[in-house]
Symmetry: C2
Amino acid sequence: MSAPVRVGLIGLGTVGQGVVNILRKNAEEIARRIGRTMVVTHAAARDLKKKRDCNLDGITIASDPMFIARDADVDVVVEVIGGLSPARELILAALARGKPVVTANKALLAEDGNRIFAAARDKGVMLAFEAAVGGGIPVIKAIREGLAANQIESLAGIINGTCNYILTQMTEREVDFAKALAEAQKLGYAEADPRMDVEGIDAAHKLTILASIAFGMPLSFKQVATEGITEVRIQDIALAHELGYRIKHLGIAKRTAAGVELRTQPTLIPEDRLLAKVDGVLNSVLIRGNAMGQVGLYGRGAGAEPTASAVVADLVDVARSLGAPAQHQVPALAFQFDQLRELRITPLAEIISSFYLRLRVADTPGVLKGITSILAESDISIEAILQKEPREDDATIAIITSQVTEQRFNDALSKLRALPFVREGLSRFRVEHFNE
Amino acid sequence: MSAPVRVGLIGLGTVGQGVVNILRKNAEEIARRIGRTMVVTHAAARDLKKKRDCNLDGITIASDPMFIARDADVDVVVEVIGGLSPARELILAALARGKPVVTANKALLAEDGNRIFAAARDKGVMLAFEAAVGGGIPVIKAIREGLAANQIESLAGIINGTCNYILTQMTEREVDFAKALAEAQKLGYAEADPRMDVEGIDAAHKLTILASIAFGMPLSFKQVATEGITEVRIQDIALAHELGYRIKHLGIAKRTAAGVELRTQPTLIPEDRLLAKVDGVLNSVLIRGNAMGQVGLYGRGAGAEPTASAVVADLVDVARSLGAPAQHQVPALAFQFDQLRELRITPLAEIISSFYLRLRVADTPGVLKGITSILAESDISIEAILQKEPREDDATIAIITSQVTEQRFNDALSKLRALPFVREGLSRFRVEHFNE
């Protein structure tokens, strides 16, 4: 066998420790795959005194991560510190020295990836990021390589485990959002500051990356219509269930004649779809290609070992590419860098879908007639409607509409809101059917 | 861009036509991925006069497939005629000339793959076979590359769409096996001679390939314990449902301290597992790695376009590898060829699992006592038991046992069979729980 592949590891948090552990635990198996051993020779961490849950024997510990990026004699650099800076500067420094990089940093790639991927291309080295989306689920590889024969038409993913855990708890145990969030925080499934997750930003980061490799377009994070789960009420989940749907927080990227839709939002899915049945902290991505039809993947989308599993899989790919000219590499964003194309992002107002609408109305005669008249005037059909028995003097009505643009739906909604018997407390979410 | 990648296509059946169609339909997208165009320049078919559902313009049609394998000026050969011979000779001839090969031929690879992969290795060229298992689902790539950080512990797959379709019909519409099979044949989901599918042989071929890339062992088709779905009765499906299970035909490969289990068989799965919810002609594979935990894939496992989607994805991989030394290639069987290791195959008698058992007994006193005594004497616990109200003078009892070796279970079964009140008509299937 040739000399070992030397890994420089920047970050010794949970994922970094997971990388060290996997490379030790599965050392023999990995060597049998690559034909060489692979060892972490250098590692950098902020707090050198912190106790780690991994064996650091034989690893040179550096306090300055830039030393690993720039100077250390390593074949590949792993960045698992997260955040925009200094991760950006470290990755760019490593690439500038011609070192391939493996990262799990979805925020950085989504927000600043165009520059970073250009830097990797300029040096002809790999920048691998399977761990950035879906933890250990090989979803990047599936889209970029496994479905390379296809024009990808759409993808939809449960790509934030925190949101999925909270919605699952709200669904199964009928606890409200605040309580489910508090429990998720206690279990370590949500951060102390949960906004990145529950407001859909983390999902938008991941969606940005998926859309780029699916459609061959530059990373367009700023154009993602980002909505979280804070507006979902138990009542919506219950009404959706009565109508035959589950509410999931999805990242959706869809290519139509009008452009590319990029959105993260709570979405009603028919209960019999497999995607609707992916519960708890699991992640899942459903991809539709024009040759393959739909293909789905699911598994653990977060956690030290699943994420490290993806990092090390990337390391195996990188190890094979060492010394190979760029034309033998899989392009980082699935398409040759000079073949990426800006695509029009469809504004929300133009996006067509069914909608779910919950109305709280006064319990007076003529209510249904008033509502259905406005929808009919707006040329919106009602696919399903459910009126619950009035409580006190309020009644709840839930409606699933036909396919309609958001603009037309919003216009109708304004008119509905102006009706004297319609009270506050309206919820509205999109409905996606995922028909084969 | 450089010169086009020239594809020689052996076989113009449904999959071959699908390959031609995808390469035309998605030509621009594929060129943007590879940085070169890819065109079928030669094709061979048995019946040259047959009308094809694809555009053959610009393709040189040969009546002799060996011309394409051996002499035609192509960069890569696609074999989609199926069967053992002449596919074997054609692939070996192409490899001998240093031409990489893409094939969907699971039977050939499972039965004669060790020789064929050795030939590819000797010439340092790729032999790609994503289409051999799971149609367009990139399951080979997921195991071989996406989970490369892991020791794969087990995999379980719904890998025969015919069996899954029939069992789904039996479950949902309560039709018996013969009727469901006849309908599947009518719809083209089953062959006129259905034995390869319903007797589990096709699943065993696919399982052989999956086990090899999962565990780094040579292909061991002859050692797969192969059982089909012909013994499954509607009554079993109904009883399983009452006990909280679905019956699926699975290919299972599992590594334990005792060896490797290789088996295809009808299996009870808890109803809430996603694998239990994969219905109709869909395929699905669930893989467990020691870092990742469980990851699942599902999608269309057969049909012209899904299968051709996998063939063309392989062609894209091959196109990137053209001219690259072998150390830059992903090894065909996931591990370096010289690192494949024979592993002990666990004999059925030693395999441990829960069992489902259906007994038809006389409606007389002491029956349950007699049965439970024998199981207790054999040190087999009862996890669940269900006795249906007697019909005429027969009663049906269904039992889920604790984990037990097949040997011990069989010994107990012999004793049960010898009981005077136990009548004919026993069913027994394994139960797998797939706990996270």
